[in-house]
Symmetry: C2
Subunit: 168 residues, 2 copies
């Protein structure tokens, strides 16, 4: 079976923009000082979309580490609402995405290596692979939706992707 | 001036219940396995209340470390909405709260030592002290409200509290 090699890219605001928002304390976003100078607030970093009749919920996902090379054989999407992941562990992880719309077949996939201080918010309908922790069991804050109606589609890729071992 | 000594308590679900919810991956909450066995989802851990005409936003607060003993001289509340803090640093921090309702004068205050895997969600109107990081600059995911109308009250305590140095 043919496979595609998926080389992880650095996760930047610009590169991730077609898929949602990077959630990061960065000088590139609106921020201001509060609490008598003791706290910097990096403000309103993601478009949180609860979808029709939905409410925003906060959960913790505890992900088992995956080993590389890793085969990407399926993707999923939440058509009604956004879903944000923010690491609590400070450790890097992988993000695999494809644009909202027609189910990806394989070549549309992009892989990003997220740093331990970087979260992501997938826009409604954006295809993504389930959580890919790397080096240890990792906890993530997840901000997504509770509400009526089915909100998860899965697709098996026609052409599987393979994420090779990271250099270094 | 008289001061009150505030001894930090352990942060447990039960102890924090009058003030909001503990956000923690614990067997005590609803959890289930997803992602073909690779992820445990600790589900819907807090009552996120955006308030009238509000929307839920996600921000990062970067807190400077405070040193102990620390004087608690003021408290604040957000009357319209909840506010959740979840650590990204894995480091402990302090939570100072008083019940919603009349402004605290001093004796109502309780202090909790939160572990690095523990977040808190303050219910609407619950009095709390601004973020108290301890050992290093710490980032927190904050889930709160954007919306019309004033949503922050501050009160200066009649009797200041003092959190002593932690044992050990």
């Amino acid at each position: 079976m043919t496979t595609l090699t998926l080389i992880p890219e650095a996760l930047t605001r610009e590169a991730f923009a077609p898929f949602g928002e990077l959630i990061e304390a960065s000088d590139a976003v609106r921020h201001f000082t509060i609490n008598a100078g003791n706290t910097e607030r990096y403000h309103d970093l993601a478009r949180i979309e609860p979808g029709p009749d939905g409410r925003v919920i906060v959960s913790i996902f505890r992900g088992l580490p995956r080993s590389l090379p890793f085969r990407v054989e399926m993707m999923e999407r939440h058509p009604l609402a956004s879903q944000a992941f923010i690491p609590m562990s400070g450790l890097p992880y992988l993000v695999v995405v494809a644009p909202a719309g027609e189910p990806p077949r394989g070549r549309e996939l992009r892989v990003f290596l997220a740093g331990g201080g970087q979260g992501v918010n997938y826009g409604p309908g954006v295809w993504h692979h389930p959580l890919l922790a790397l080096d240890a069991v990792c906890d993530f804050v997840v901000v997504d939706r509770s509400g009526p109606g089915p909100n998860c589609d899965e697709v098996v890729l026609e052409v599987a992707g393979v994420i090779p071992a990271l250099p270094g």
